[in-house]
Symmetry: D2
Subunit: 175 residues, 4 copies
């Protein structure tokens, strides 16, 4: 479970994990969910709103679909799939609890993906396809009250090196 | 459940359904799964191979991940999400049975999306991002032995009109 | 030169032309220009605005860059490249004149790509990534006062068949 | 003119330049050209071949279209557009000469975008959509014999900081 703010580098770490781990792993994340939802315009999906300052306002409809989605991702893991979840815990500790409840006794490595707010904001500009402001507004918020097995920081460490740290820890946990 | 060959028009119908149905529906399909899988090169994903004539060769690793994936999508529906599945039953009747087993007693509308092979092959060229040959090779194969509640044909009917027929049937089924 | 409203099917015809013409042709269009421009947010590019009803408001900055862009595309053709331009003449006849001036004595086949407004609007919904309303608002507007060598209509004719008509006419013109 | 190997960070710098420069600048690059070319399959474009080790083999057809393309981009600049070219000089000094000839007396800031080969190779894995091996094979090759006004190195410097250095130098050059 990779949790971090927008433009913190989670997806890059996830793809590196897919490349270096010996078994095939699925990468599923909040972006997968958003792509699956109805689009009422180029910018807004049902029950979620991207304010112009980068804040994300989540409504009841999104929460309901997200809850079913979490159940589904947990069921994939229960059914034997190896899953890397690429997530943004907008609710901090409350988000973690939602996942813990769904995942139950499954072995999970909780990984915090950190990136200094100013650096993440710069990378958001460099990506060119993001609402400016999300990186800064989420950088700390998504980690509040969350308990991790491991934290990595992409500010000065490459995604591949972060992925190697996560893989080493995951394999140690299995043994 | 929308089943049809590549370039038969399933995804267009799915997006129209999202636009016209009163509640929010998720669209999840085999493309979502393929995007979640490790990419060993720009062209191949783990356990699946796209032959140059458009044939798709599915290996054991893909089958195993797909089985867990189907469990997960079924679990989303069990947890209350309304889901439009955008699928390609490469195994025909056997694929349908895999889904039936996972979905259990959930209400499902089985929809066959047909398109004349030559027309689908032309649309494949017009899309410009597909392996040429898939549309023709899948046009009939994916429907072999599959039992439907409704079939639509995009050869001469627009996606929106097909979606209206599906929505009407779905709402009749609920009542 | 393919001119037509949003969701009229120009890009599909352009890709089919690339597939069936014996020589390699470049496809360049207004989408290429928009992708090259600075993005001030996920939705707006410099000097162009997409109103919520699908209208496109073009400002002076966009016009200036577009003028230089047209010169550049014309220069590619002058330098020997075969170019399919995939365009939306928001200014109708005035847009055509801008291109005529830049292209000078170069041989051009002017092709109008028509699609009934209601059908284009339905395809816009099926695409799922367009601002709803553009197809309807542009369907007739972009053809006002424009003079064509050939017109095709995608309402009931597939992109590949339209492309074949265009290719036949282009080759007849060369001979 | 930004020249660097695949995954060296050129595109990120280009988008940051668009964000920080006071006037609107177009970003045009080899990716724009490749997207404009006919696709014979999902992987190969006319006259260019991506070997499985990341080498890029460029044929005569690609060279001819590229020459016309360079003329066109130069014409855009001559016509007044501010253009950031995001390029990969596969031919090193010979590529630079092709551009110099087309650009003539126009003011150009030649910028080399460097990235240590191993770091670029890691970022290539993290991107997930590139042919593995290009980053390493191009890291040094594209700079051979090329003369720069400025070089930046993304190995340990963020794209935004590199863009600021380029912008400062560009504005100094204007004065």
């Amino acid at each position: 479970m990779l949790n971090g703010g927008s433009s913190s580098g989670k997806s890059g770490i996830a793809r590196c994990l897919q490349a270096i781990l010996p078994d095939p792993w699925l990468v599923i994340g909040v972006d997968t969910l958003i792509r699956a939802m109805p689009v009422s315009s180029r910018r807004s999906v049902v029950g979620i709103e991207f304010a112009s300052d980068g804040a994300v306002i989540v409504g009841a409809q999104f929460r309901a679909l997200e809850a079913a989605w979490i159940e589904g991702v947990a069921a994939m893991a229960h059914a034997g799939a190896r899953v890397i979840v690429d997530e943004v815990f907008l609710g901090g500790a409350a988000s973690q609890q939602r996942w813990q409840q769904a995942l139950g006794p499954l072995p999970v490595l909780w990984v915090g993906v950190r990136c200094e707010s100013a650096v993440a904001a710069g990378r958001e500009i460099a990506r060119g396809d993001r609402v400016i402001g999300q990186a800064a507004s989420q950088a700390d918020m998504v980690h509040q009250g969350v308990v991790y097995d491991l934290q990595v920081d992409t500010t000065r460490t490459e995604a591949l090196a972060c992925a190697r740290a996560v893989a080493a820890r995951a394999q140690a946990a299995v043994v």
